[in-house]
Symmetry: C2
Subunit: 393 residues, 2 copies
Amino acid sequence: MPSPVQGFRFSAVSAGIRKDGRVDLALAVADRPVIAAGRVTRNLVKAAPIVLASERLKQGLVRGVLVNSGCANACTGEPGLEAARRATSAVSRVLGADDTEIIPASTGVIGALLPAEKIEARVSELVLKLSPTSIDDFALAICTTDRWPKVAYATIETPKGKASLLGIAKGAGMIHPNLGPPQATMLCFLFTDAIIERPELEGTLMEGVDHTFNTCSVDGDTSTNDLVLALASGASGVVAHAEELLPAIENVCGTLARSMVRDGEGAEHAVDIVVRGLPTNDDARRIAQTIATSMLVKTALFGKDANWGRLLAAAGRAGVVFDPNASGVSIAGVEIARGGLAVGSEAEAEAQRRMADETYTIELVLGDGPGRALCVTSDLGHRYIDVNAGYRS
Amino acid sequence: MPSPVQGFRFSAVSAGIRKDGRVDLALAVADRPVIAAGRVTRNLVKAAPIVLASERLKQGLVRGVLVNSGCANACTGEPGLEAARRATSAVSRVLGADDTEIIPASTGVIGALLPAEKIEARVSELVLKLSPTSIDDFALAICTTDRWPKVAYATIETPKGKASLLGIAKGAGMIHPNLGPPQATMLCFLFTDAIIERPELEGTLMEGVDHTFNTCSVDGDTSTNDLVLALASGASGVVAHAEELLPAIENVCGTLARSMVRDGEGAEHAVDIVVRGLPTNDDARRIAQTIATSMLVKTALFGKDANWGRLLAAAGRAGVVFDPNASGVSIAGVEIARGGLAVGSEAEAEAQRRMADETYTIELVLGDGPGRALCVTSDLGHRYIDVNAGYRS
């Protein structure tokens, strides 16, 4: 496979950080220092790699990103920062880069210290294996409870030619991204070969993330380690602007976000919750998020129960004013409540049948205002319990 | 058994509202119109009985309360209001009371209309069976997914003698009470034979509820039908004031709230989440509630996993500022994190052993401020899924 994005190389090894021996250490490197933008978790409790990533992203030029699974290196204090510094320094030494040009990212158990010595021991091999085409290796190494690796591509169309955008992401739990200026333990790495000014990359990333990752929820738990990072190599020679980049970022991040929810821990469905008719988009978003994180709604999705009462009850506790008696609810295209009342048992039975689908849309119309919002959520079933109740998943 | 509280009678019948034929219709009546105070759900979507209860409680004098399980009569519009009016009118006719002196309350499926005709058909029998001692019948009839009925007593001690307080409540899902001035589908009925002025009953009820029901959560879903109602018959002849009534209300409501969480749908544990060291009680409460409703925390409680990283991660997303590096965590009396770092694997193993207990306390010390809060929560396990994913539980 030829590299779909110029100016970057990828590799992955097993460094023994995970107990199961799977690949758990990934590196992506640009051929030279490149423009970078990132967003990190808004959780007050920030993992050591997030603290370092925030600092290092301020300088704007980045050479690469070193990512491990199996250990979040969160709640590890100064020893955690030191371990993350040692790990990235080992990479920058071999590459001949500045220490601060390597961005660290970690995902896994909270409270365990990153084993820097295991990483140091494998850095030479990691750099030796770098290749423009080892994208799937990288994607696999950053997975934790994910059932599949998450990779997406888009083309950036400009008047003067085309450039490429590659996105690599991981889920699958503690997914309720709330990404601030430089936020996920979703991790998402975007690589483009377009030539872009840093403020445009920053702004576009922020807007794209708000429209995609920040609208999805698996469990309502915002991680200590969330990170979205975008690197622009410029190696295509094609200059791109925000209006050209944004559709590509929304395309790639939208695909990855939906894949992440569909792969939410133990999930069988990814359901779009659409709320409209409110005075403002913010009002609609508060309701969509309250529904998307309601345990009673999520268990009903698992049970394929067209329980519209739970939907309206969740909407009613969101702290937003609307008229319940003017509310309509559709599930998978079937209108089951109108004017706040049940449409009938036939409609409900049909909706119920359609809830067997992997993906479908639930729409609440709560007035005639212009405000609308989308939130993508997963169902809550037995496998979520199994994944998360086991000792230290 | 002699009646523990003078001036009230109770009864229950099976009216066929529930599909399983269990007792599902309960009545409590005072010998004459009595002082009443209530709080109803703050959910914007209010069930028909809640709308009527709010109106009727404004007049201050109440004769009784008619409660059904099996049907919430929520999202049923004007027909729902009419059905609730018909049901209570049937009772007031037989009792010779004013129509508005009977407070309706319902719990069960949302979106289904209350079958008023089934209730009308059983009202005569319901009134005939009224007895001062049929408290357990009443308690059983208002249960839905509850595994046990919930009844508690306290004595009100005054300088001039003693009066009694009886509380009857039900859980067990959609439990995240947020009870406003006249709010629960927890339902709680308090009966006292003390003589109390209405403003004192109102104020004491509000404070007592805030300290008990409003600090507990099973699933984070605030119901459309929550109601706490207090009736004071005065039949003991003993005058009570707020300072004498409050300890009794906190005792009874505290016992009922804890029983409700312990009986949370499918729950195996009731865990006290104590948060202290914040600048204000409100700050502490926001963090305690975020932890108490975190799916990752609740699955860890089910898994008996001393996963303090999930506790700190939930605290960190509560929107309250604290220093993670000065944070301490104890589980069931075992300190497992200090200064933001793990204490060690022995402490964790001991905490883990103690998490097998039905009830225990998790304490987070997040600074040296005076603010503290308690939130009682349940674990999230397979039985919660079973209870809620089944068709229209």
